[in-house]
Symmetry: C2
Subunit: 745 residues, 2 copies
């Protein structure tokens, strides 16, 4: 190997995730981390031919359907993956023996390797399989969702047989895809298009009535093909191709799939669109090239380079990849769910995870995507207004969980995990109200970073003003204490619910009201007609604005005199437990103490006061940051608490000048899914952690700060990092930050 | 037509249910009433080739699987019905055109008639279909579940084409059967048996882990067969047969299906059993003959003949047929659900509907079936004891809803019909406690009618004694009033819940305790060792028995002084509404007044006091019966209240000598499903109404009474009935009752 080759191989290895054995116990985790996608849809890394107990799934943005208890969920789309390989050995006289179906749970496997190429989003599986009856096949499967052609899915299988006989390939579209047993689709129609030889399947969601047509075309070298059949099995159309098998002679089969839904085009046009798309594929190599070029553009904007820490480098790219495949590029009617498009967890619902944890990546590197995501919230102002009104408030109260309609879709009750006859009340949809300020914050941040005044005037201002209206009417006047309060809420730390005056909530509400006044002032100058329109529409008369100022002035912000902030009123009266003394542990503090037990302590699930200090960093003195960092850090369940915590904790460790402590938190966030730190990665990618990992690198170690005056960095690299290089876009200008670290001798 | 032929045709028509057009709006109702079965399973009357929006289902006794909210439900078994017919017309030169798939929603339909032959359980559909492109087929489909071979399902399709070309038949087994979108099955394996040409499918319930193997074999006249293929589509194996089509020349295809589950045999033996069974079918005619002979035996025991009222005659047979196809003949681990095996309603759960409404039919005509059903309760004493213990009582408290484990499976909360975010608490599982006495009553009735002392000693006594233990500990002593009470219960009338001292409950509890003392006395003489064993096991010492006597003596039985019984304490204080003044109406009183509104009135959903008078008729003077009949009848929501009511109301109308008033109630019960009186027959047969219809005929019009001294009849036929003839079995002796009615001139 030359140096250059070695260097290339090394570079390659910094762009790949791989496994060298298939662990049946870990298959759901593997399915999650080998997810591919293109921002239109994602497909979990299940095997083409299936595997017992797999949780195969393709999720398409916005394709929701009603479900018991969880209200609505992303419907697992008709399965486009199925491609099974069968081999028959010719006996004496040429008669074929029975077909043996290739499956990884039968026969012998050698040389197995599965690799996800993050640079171009291609998943490859290679192995040698010896059938129970003896024939041997070398198999390579490749798949990707074309980033440049969002409706196109491509799959290729290459087989080198070590036998004389015949190979059979069966490729299906399976309309019986389900969500853990729940079928969301009804069969509508299917057929074989005589002109192209493509098969199509038309299905419709059972409740939301979304039409979906998927089509497939199979391509082999014509000379190799022995026969071709179509099995018209209802709801699972199947193409069957037989090819002569000659020892050592490679057989290649390509499956081109297209997917269109009635969210994309009128239902009557879907079939023609899907058949047209699969017919138009120019060939595997050309499709690969188009996809690769699109990915190059993405990475050019997004990549973060780390020298001196290969694990961090790969993990960062992995987390960025997960964000990129989930990001809606052409659709502003959808958001990113807490588990992205990679698993069944949280049913595709969106939380504050988007605005606070994922959105900054896009705001800084891909404003067009950030704008799509914020437009989703703007489109659903009606739902937020309806929620506020139903609760007796004015303005916009955004749902804690949001799906396709903008209505609150948090389940109100869920079955108890130990006793299905009992129900557990879920309160977040009722009282975790901080999300409305989080959305306003994200809108403002987008404006501050991009300088997109037109958007702020058209949409952002309305988001910020109408959430402010909510906060002002939701504030309760405590006459005895002469202050406004927000009682009975849940803050970011969900170990403590039904608390009064959560500082994060109160302070962000105050910020939202202050910012609304500022935005309104700005708008009166920038676009007076729009300001007048909004003032009229939202009834922003002098009396209301005076009330806002009164709330801003008199909102209660719990704190101790010495700069120590109180997470919520009465927090310091809770039992102070030495969390370190419980180590080593394998369970969360909530599991150890119980739901009510942990609420009686000061143990917190994730940074809450520190989260506030992070978001409003300019408003707090360094000494206050340090004091609170020191108080809350040992009281936080970093290891088994919220997956949202570590990235923020890392940033705040940098803020107090502790880069190596920060690194421990950063790498915990970066590993969340790759190493399945919490044991639930099988349910899907922890999107907030993935987005937070980027923030920890850029805002933590990189120390990037955007202020009204511009941007600057206050780097704080871990000891062993030699270099950190990243890009962002400041008010339309691309910026490259390249930080080198002189290693201490 | 000769007289004899005319007579036969007339007789035939008294044994058939038919329709002459397919109503897409009413297809779920039609599926229910055209259900076939054999006591092992039932299959709804969906079409072989499918129809948009159908609710096709096969339910097998005991094959339950977990489901959200409803706890557990009968899993819709893999679909054995699919058989589609395709016709291709040969053009000039013999080249075949494309296949047209026969479907009732395309092309032209003529001469449609669907007929259920109640005498032998065969469903037949005939029609002529003209394809959109012009070819014409005369089609006949026949199906039945063999009563003599409970694992065998047989289906035949005869086609007379009016075209030259080819017919294609596709027959599948579909493992993707689901319950309104919920898939209960996982695919395990499938294959084609080379020896027999039969295909098999092996699936397993997702949660309860029940294995099921189904196999199919297709038979055509060998000379007619052009080609045969097997589509090995996963979870939907399909056999495809092509036959030459010659105008006027009938083509016959037979599909033989077998089903075995791991409830029948070890999982490893199921495939061989199913393949063996389909291979062993001697042919259609022989299978029909075996089935017919088995049905003859059933009807010989069960038929009720009415002369002078063809509608009543057919409806009675229809209701009896529904009972017969749902009755477990070879399995005492299962019960009959409220909707039998004919629909998704109530999820296959069993209620008091079995013991009080359905069981008498079997107790009187087929004691072996009644014994199976009672053994089911005996097998689940452990669950009833656990329920009592969990509630702080001793003895056996049977669940209000029961499935496969004997645990309470009543949902505790269900989503609100108008607002899915809201939940409605279902209280029946907590406080509708009368079911424990209903089961004791049914056990005692079985003993009284059959004289089966061995069963009473082995099982019945334990049921009656342990429910008595429950009642004694559940009774609350009201020291102030010097009486025992049962507070916070629901009686049979569910318009009033959370009531105190429901007379039906209190009096049946008293009866249960009295009967337990009597049974214990009897057992001490009949089987002293068993009496000693039970006394020890159930702790039936002198103190406990003294307490029982005290409860019997001091139980509160609310009544007015003039013989008017009070349904529950305070009932007479509720608003007395003139229900007749609300006529004509199309809604239940509960819908008109609201759940709480109707509870404030004296309107009742079904007879409650009258139900008690029916069950314990010997204990009440004729004047008391009449007084209460006159009071409660006009206050009962006969038309839109409970479907359990009309049959009992009919019996009590006979008891007060009003046969024609009784007839109105009887025919309402008899028509419940045939005419879809309540609009919900699509959810399945109203099993209690079906069983009650028999009781109304036999105990009402026939006036049959079994007492310790023997039996007698007090007939009370409707004016227009010329004759009523039925059979029953008294203490092992078959009895034929033949009542003739001299019509009044």
């Amino acid at each position: 190997m030359t140096d250059r080759q070695a260097n290339n191989a090394m570079n390659e290895s910094l762009w790949t995730i791989s496994e060298t054995s298939l662990d049946p116990q870990g298959q759901h985790h593997a399915e999650t981390i080998f997810t591919i996608g293109n921002g239109y849809l994602c497909t979990r890394g299940a095997l083409e031919e299936g595997y017992a107990g797999d949780r195969r799934a393709t999720f398409i943005h916005g394709v929701f359907d009603a479900a018991p208890i969880v209200v609505t969920e992303l419907a697992n789309a008709p399965d486009w993956l199925p491609l099974s390989v069968h081999a028959a050995v010719a006996g004496a006289g040429g008669a074929l023996g029975p077909y043996e179906r290739f499956s990884q749970d039968r026969g012998q496997i050698a040389g197995y390797r599965r690799t996800l190429d993050l640079r171009q989003g291609v998943l490859t599986r290679r192995l040698e399989w010896t059938a129970p009856t003896g024939g041997r096949l070398a198999l390579t499967f490749e798949r990707f969702a074309a980033l440049d052609q969002p409706h196109m899915l491509l799959l290729r299988c290459r087989v080198v047989p070590d036998l004389l006989g015949r190979l059979q390939f069966r490729a299906s579209l399976n309309g019986y895809a389900h969500n853990d047993g729940l079928l969301h689709w009804r069969y509508v129609a299917q057929g074989l298009d005589p002109a192209s030889g493509a098969a199509s399947l038309h299905t419709r969601t059972r409740h939301s009535g979304i039409d979906l047509v998927t089509a497939m075309r199979l391509v082999t070298a014509a000379s190799a093909e022995h026969s071709r059949a179509y099995w018209d099995t209802e709801n699972a159309p199947t193409l069957v191709v037989e090819v002569e098998a000659v020892p050592g002679q490679e057989v290649v089969i390509e499956k081109y799939v297209a997917v269109y839904t009635s969210r994309d085009a009128p239902a009557g046009q879907l079939c023609a669109a899907a058949l047209g798309a699969v017919s138009a594929v120019p060939g595997w190599d050309a499709a690969v090239a188009g996809n690769r070029a699109a990915w190059e553009t993405e990475w050019e904007r997004t990549d973060v380079e780390v020298e001196g820490d290969d694990e961090a480098q790969i993990a960062l790219r992995f987390n960025l990849f997960q964000m990129l495949i989930a990001a809606p590029r052409r659709d502003d009617r959808v958001n990113i769910g807490a588990k992205t498009l990679s698993g069944f967890g949280y049913r595709g619902h969106s939380f504050w995870d988007t605005e606070i944890f994922m959105l900054p990546l896009f705001t800084y590197t891909a404003p067009h995507i950030a704008r799509n995501l914020l437009n989703y919230r703007h489109r659903h102002l009606a739902g937020a207004r309806a929620k506020a009104q139903a609760n007796g408030f004015e303005g916009a109260q955004f749902p804690w969980e949001s799906a396709d309609t903008g209505e609150e879709v948090t389940p109100t009750w869920v079955p108890h995990s130990a006793d299905r006859a009992r129900l557990v009340r879920i309160w977040t949809g009722d009282i975790e109200i901080h999300i409305s300020a989080d959305i306003a914050y994200a809108a403002h941040q987008y404006w501050a970073v991009t300088g997109d005044d037109a958007w702020m005037a058209a949409k952002g201002a309305e988001l910020i003003l109408d959430t402010a209206r909510f906060w002002a009417t939701r504030a309760e006047w405590n006459a005895a204490a002469g202050r406004y309060e927000y009682r009975d809420v849940i803050g970011p730390d969900e170990y403590h619910d039904h608390v009064d005056n959560n500082l994060y909530t109160n302070r962000l509400a105050q910020w939202n009201l202050q910012t609304a006044l500022g935005v309104l002032d700005w708008l009166r100058g920038y676009a007076p007609e729009r300001a007048a329109e909004l003032s009229s529409q939202l009834d922003l008369g002098p009396e209301r604005l005076a009330h806002w100022r009164h709330v801003i002035d008199k909102i209660y912000l719990p704190a101790a005199p010495d700069g120590l902030l109180e997470q919520f009123e009465g927090y310091f009266q809770r039992t102070d437990v030495d969390l370190a003394s419980l180590e080593p542990r394998t369970k969360s503090a909530q599991e150890l103490f119980g739901i009510e037990g942990v609420a009686d302590t000061q143990i917190i699930k994730q940074p809450d006061v520190l989260m506030l200090l992070y978001l409003l960093r300019d408003q707090f003195a360094a000494a206050v940051v340090r004091r609170n960092y020191e108080y809350y850090t040992p009281r936080t369940d970093h290891t088994y608490g919220s997956s949202l915590g570590p990235a923020i904790q890392a940033i705040m460790a940098c803020a107090v000048g502790r880069p190596d402590e920060a690194y421990g938190h950063f790498i915990r966030a970066a590993r969340a899914d790759l190493r399945d730190v919490r044991g639930n990665a099988g349910d899907g990618i922890h999107g907030a952690s993935a987005g937070g990992t980027w923030q920890a690198a850029v805002f933590g170690f990189g120390g990037l700060r955007v202020t009204p005056k511009g941007w600057h960095t206050e780097p704080c690299l871990p000891q062993h990092w030699r270099r950190l290089r990243f890009r962002f876009c400041h008010r339309g200008q691309p910026v490259v930050i390249d930080l080198e670290h002189a290693l201490t001798p």
